[in-house]
């Protein structure tokens, strides 16, 4: 490069342009991310300190929106629901995913077919899942009506209409949709385990149960980490499923932060409070994602 620059000064502009070409190609993405991700985050952050109602306005109110937010009953419900939903969702998905992965790892005939069946819900929209489960769990036509039709006339299953139990129907549908994905992650982890070590343990007379508990499961730690991060961030972002399955109801019984943010911002015209709730969602996700990305990208080097 330097030779041609010296020999032909007119070419240097072209050369420099050529050297800059990779960065020029990357620059639209940089601009897009700077504006539409980080610029927008700052904008919403700013709005959360303003008196915005229907439209963004810029009267500074300090921490007032956050103070109000934590006084709102619906936000309290949403956060409590997220904790219940998030914990159950993550624990059940991991337990079920691990069980299915171990079952499938026993040299099963038709493994490919079974895996396809376990994983297909992941290809569906949460709206589709929500519609299917909404009517399946509906006491009027779904499980309850069907079991009663079979002769058990006192059978009751009306969680979806019961404010105390409705949140668990969200867990049921969400686990159905994602557990196959967790299974696939664990299965990939299982396949990566050194088989020599397992054989050695088997020769030493370890039972299958002990084998999994002592040797296999500890080695799945990275898969557990990934599953946790993915599931936790999906739980916090859960919106579509609630809208389709219960609409946040009965009443506000299944409200989550994501639905709270939407209704306060766009239907109740409390944009400042909506922005504050979005900021809290972002902080929660960042607390999970940033350390994860940090460690993933550092390992790469």
């Amino acid at each position: 490069m330097s030779i041609s620059e010296a020999a032909n000064p007119r070419g240097s502009v072209v050369d420099r342009l050529r050297d800059a070409l990779p960065k020029i190609v990357l620059s639209p993405t940089v601009a897009i991310v700077a504006i539409f991700v980080y610029g927008f985050i700052l904008f919403t952050l700013y709005l959360s300190f303003t008196d915005s109602r229907i439209l963004p306005t810029f009267g500074w109110v300090g921490w007032k929106n956050y103070e109000n937010l934590f006084r709102i009953r619906a936000w309290d419900t949403a956060v409590t629901n997220l904790v219940i939903f998030g914990v159950l969702y993550i624990v059940i998905c991991c337990a079920l995913g691990l069980l299915l992965a171990i079952l499938l790892d026993q040299r099963i005939r038709a493994e490919g077919f079974i895996r396809t069946v376990y994983l297909y819900p992941m290809a569906l929209s949460f709206i589709v899942t929500g519609v299917a489960w909404k009517w399946f769990l509906d006491p009027g036509i779904g499980v309850e009506a069907v079991v009663r039709g079979w002769g058990w006339t006192t059978f009751e299953f009306n969680w979806i209409k019961d404010s105390d139990m409705a949140i668990y129907t969200i867990v049921i549908a969400a686990v159905w949709q994602t557990s196959g994905f967790v299974m696939a992650m664990f299965l990939a982890g299982l396949r990566g385990i050194d088989s020599e070590m397992m054989k050695a343990a088997q020769i030493d007379g370890a039972s299958t149960f002990a084998l999994y508990r002592r040797i296999v499961i500890p080695q799945l730690r990275p898969a557990f980490m990934s599953a946790f991060v993915v599931l936790a961030h999906m739980a916090i972002k859960s919106y579509d499923l609630v809208i389709a399955l219960t609409g946040g109801g009965p009443g506000t019984a299944t409200e989550l932060p994501a639905t709270f943010m939407y209704s306060y911002t766009f239907t109740r015209n409390q944009m400042g409070i909506g922005a504050a709730s979005a900021v809290i969602m972002l902080m929660t996700i960042a607390a999970i994602i940033v350390p994860y990305l940090w460690s993933e990208l550092r390992e790469k080097k």
């Binding site: 036509i141 943010m261 939407y262 994602i289």
Partner: protein, 290 residues
């Protein structure tokens, strides 16, 4: 004797194993069964408590109604126009984000520069943010750009927030591509685009499929952006399906709802069945970075 015992207990274990696997197959397939079966029977059979039964009278009417005449929101258009909206939205958004992702991945691995990893980290973080954080400014921005409530507006939004994942795929894929080949081509005088076009792109087939499937599934299944940034006539399929099901006027036509749900699911299910391997690879690469 001992070996016979071991063998029978082994067989019992296999039997339990296969039974468990079969039970879980039923668990995952049950909602699909419910959707299909109930989309093919008259409403009266469902309301009479026959949700789990096969149709006594098979009918295709719920499908026709869901497609072309059911009440969606205020108009009785069926889901057809919204299905078309989704297609018009998904094709350019997938194409654009995949192309930009491929170029980004190429630059970030073969023309790397100080700070590239940090930049990539910032880009990736953008994939995981709760999109509630960008709804308000994006609504304004689309208004300023004259794209509010339109399909092109949705294309733009999906393109913007699809870049992160497509860059991730191509970057990780190109990282394993021998850099010596690129350097050799450079010495032979090939330029930036020529190397990309002639050397990297021809071997990018698998990752392009992974990326296209991932983007297609995500964008087709999106609800939040669709619900936030569309008008009545630019709604994508997911939003229209939700409106169909939630509309409170008149009798609830469960069979039509189920038919509509299957319609909304068919494109992504089709892709999953045809190219499931790539779909799974995309899922994995999006979580356990490889």
């Amino acid at each position: 004797m001992a070996s016979a015992n071991a063998k029978s207990s082994f067989n019992l274990a296999r039997f339990v194993l296969y039974t468990l696997l079969a039970v879980f197959c039923i668990y995952y397939l049950l909602p699909l069964y419910v959707m299909v079966v109930n989309s093919l029977k008259p409403l009266s059979e469902i309301t009479a408590g026959g949700m789990m039964a096969l149709p006594q009278e098979w009918t295709f009417a719920p499908w026709l109604s869901a497609w072309s005449s059911a009440q969606v929101g205020v108009e009785a258009t069926g889901l057809r126009p919204y299905f078309l909206n989704s297609i018009i939205m998904v094709v350019p958004a997938v194409a654009l984000s995949t192309m930009v992702g491929a170029l980004n991945g190429y630059v970030l691995t073969k023309w790397t520069f100080p700070g590239a990893t940090i930049l990539f980290g910032l880009l990736l973080f953008g994939c995981f943010i709760p999109f509630q954080m960008v709804l308000i400014p994006m609504a304004r921005m689309l208004g300023l750009m004259g794209l509010a409530g339109s399909v092109p507006g949705l294309i733009f939004v999906h393109f913007v927030y699809g870049i992160g994942f497509s860059t991730l795929y191509f970057r990780n894929y190109y990282a394993a591509f021998p850099t010596e080949l690129v350097r050799a081509a450079q010495i032979d005088g090939a330029g930036f685009f020529r190397i990309f076009w002639r050397i990297l792109l021809p071997s990018s087939g698998p990752i392009a499929v992974v990326c296209i499937i991932w983007q297609f599934t995500n964008i087709w299944n999106d609800f939040l952006f669709g619900a936030s940034f569309s008008d009545f006539d630019s709604q994508p399929m997911t939003v229209a399906l939700n409106n169909l099901v939630q509309s409170s006027t008149g009798v609830k036509e469960y069979n039509v709802h189920f038919a509509g749900a299957i319609m909304a699911a068919l494109p992504t299910l089709f892709v999953y069945i045809v190219a499931g391997r790539y779909f799974v690879r995309g899922l994995m690469a999006g979580s356990v970075k490889g």
